[in-house]
């Protein structure tokens, strides 16, 4: 095994072992792990776009978290809209439709952002960073304008969301398992897309050397637009499937952005395998830290919310290239 994979697996084992050590019984250990995988998958959905976009176009999209937030709002609204409820009474089918709408909105907004706001700025990279930051502000404020500043919590339930099963004396939500399954499927699917398809080969080549890809006769800017569109659609998808748990609120934008940035730094900017591994690691670490920090002997719940930032700072100090990166 290559050293970076070895280190990653060792870290993964260490986190899981620490979680086991903290748990009084198998049931609560299972809950911790499942919650960690769940968070890891949501993180992956934001971080994967962030990482590939950065690797290919050198743009750190500070608006990526805002797409997650928009996905959550769209999915919430479609699912709870009286008109849609009347048209599609079955909540499971309606939820499916909500997710698709969210993906579509994320894709359209993402494509527009790249095509009309970022493309004029490729000669001025400093302003690109500032611009995506500005777009994040505008999206957050636009969401407050459309949906008001109050957070929504998911009220109209559906069977998929509420089923659970018993194991080791604890009850596990089916929906979380479904999200974890979808997450793993997407990790593999996007990985295959990058490994096997022509567009994937172009993306990987573009991460190495954009100029040469272009000199081979490939219109790199069209690839940029495509990748940006897909990246934002995936983030939006994340928000949509997270909404039944997290609801919809403007705070989602920043919450996931910072953790996703931490994942990307941890995995190595531009590395897909690193992002997948980093998401899992941080998700599990978050979950374990929530248990640890909540222990009465520790009593510092704030530790858990600070985990992503602390981890990112640590990685930048020790190995700025991240687990799978080349450094710098």
């Amino acid at each position: 095994m290559r050293p970076n994979i070895l280190v990653s697996v060792a870290l993964l084992v260490a986190v899981v072992a620490f979680g086991y050590f903290l748990s009084p019984d198998l049931g609560s250990f299972g809950i911790t792990i499942m919650s960690g995988l769940f968070q890891g998958m949501l993180l992956f959905l934001v971080a994967s776009g962030l990482s590939i976009i950065f690797g290919l176009m050198d743009v750190l999209n500070f608006a990526q978290g805002a797409y997650f937030m928009v996905g959550a709002y769209v999915s919430y609204s479609v699912h709870h809209s009286p008109d849609v409820m009347a048209a599609i009474p079955d909540p499971n089918i309606r939820f499916f439709l909500s997710v698709i709408s969210a993906v579509a909105v994320g894709a359209i907004l993402g494509g527009l952002l790249e095509r009309f706001l970022l493309r004029p700025l490729y000669a001025r990279p400093v302003f690109q960073i500032v611009l995506t930051f500005g777009v994040a502000i505008v999206m957050t404020e636009a969401v407050k304008f459309i949906w008001s500043t109050n957070p929504y919590s998911w009220t109209v339930l559906f069977s998929l969301r509420d089923q659970s099963f018993q194991l080791f004396g604890q009850s596990f939500g089916v929906y979380r398992l479904v999200v974890i399954g979808i997450g793993f499927a997407l990790i593999i699917l996007i990985g295959l897309l990058l490994q096997r398809t022509r567009i994937g080969i172009i993306i990987r080549a573009g991460v190495e050397d954009r100029e040469m890809v272009e000199a081979l006769g490939i219109n790199v800017r069209m690839v940029f637009t495509l990748v940006f569109t897909i990246g934002c659609a995936v983030a939006s998808f994340g928000g949509a499937i997270a909404a039944p748990f997290l609801g919809a609120s403007a705070g989602l934008a920043n919450l996931f952005l910072l953790s996703a940035i931490a994942v990307v730094v941890l995995g190595g900017m531009g590395s897909y395998a690193g992002t997948a591994m980093g998401s899992l690691l941080l998700g599990l670490a978050l979950s374990v830290m929530q248990v640890f920090a909540g222990k009465p002997q520790i009593g510092l719940p704030v530790l858990a919310s600070m985990t992503p930032m602390m981890l990112m700072i640590l990685v930048l100090l020790v190995r700025p290239g991240g687990l799978f990166g080349k450094g710098r």
Binding site: A205, E208, E211, V213, A215, G217, V220
Partner: protein
């Protein structure tokens, strides 16, 4: 007259990189089917000339014509699609992609690679057993062969090759010369080459670039005889 038979016609191009005026009037004319070479000292502007033709560093004034078509304001992917292959300095192969992927990505129409595979592996038999290796694992000579092979995948009518012999052993250089000579039977080639021996054996036409300007051009056979000219611009004997 000359332009009707020239496949590539570069007229008095001026190129800036940032505020720096790199090319201050370069003209190159290349007849179809020939091998041309750009000669000159380090930093004279040979590489920039190739990059300007490719549209990577577009010219501020002057004209680049390929088969009569103006290329000046085209982005480099459109230039490539006109039928121009580019083998840059330091080869620029994709190190994380396998040899096969490196070749596949160069397809302009699907099936290009399958169609050309025989020709490519005939020219560079070494590559055939390396197809599954990542480009980064190849030796310098193998990477150079791959870079040239990549430019052969689509039907290019002009190849721009920048310093193919750089840092390679004499045996490998011999192989490369053989390959370039063979592929020039089908396409026109414009080389940048510091190795004067290699350049003089390969090329039909030369253009000397000095301090950003094209100084002398002509038939390679005449240059080989003109020691004074060689001494003046190239400082080699």
């Amino acid at each position: 007259m000359a332009s009707s038979e020239a496949i590539l016609e570069v007229k008095d191009i001026h190129t800036f990189i940032g505020q720096f005026h790199i090319l201050e009037g370069v003209s190159v004319s290349l007849p179809r089917g020939s091998i041309g070479v750009l000669l000159g000292r380090n930093g004279a502007g040979k590489t920039t000339t190739l990059r300007t033709i490719m549209g990577i560093t577009p010219p501020r004034s002057g004209e680049v014509r390929f088969e009569g078509q103006r290329l000046n304001s085209m982005r480099s992917f459109s230039v490539a699609r006109m039928g121009i292959g580019y083998v840059p300095e330091h080869r620029a192969i994709f190190k994380g992609l396998t040899v096969r992927e490196n070749l596949h990505i160069a397809e302009r129409r699907s099936g290009d690679f399958t169609r050309k595979a025989d020709l490519i592996f005939d020219l560079f038999p070494d590559l055939k057993r390396l197809v599954h290796l990542p480009g980064g694992n190849l030796s310098g000579g193998q990477q150079q062969m791959l870079a040239i092979a990549r430019a052969l995948v689509p039907d290019n009518r002009l190849l721009l090759i920048d310093e193919p012999s750089e840092g390679l052993a004499p045996v490998i250089i011999e192989q490369l010369m053989h390959a370039i000579r063979r592929l020039s039977e089908q396409t026109t080639v414009l080389l940048v080459e510091q190795n004067f021996r290699m350049a003089s054996q390969l090329a039909d036409r030369y253009t000397i670039i000095d301090e950003g300007q094209s100084a002398v051009a002509g038939d390679m056979r005449d240059l080989v005889k003109d020691q004074a000219l060689i001494q003046r611009y190239l400082g080699v004997a």
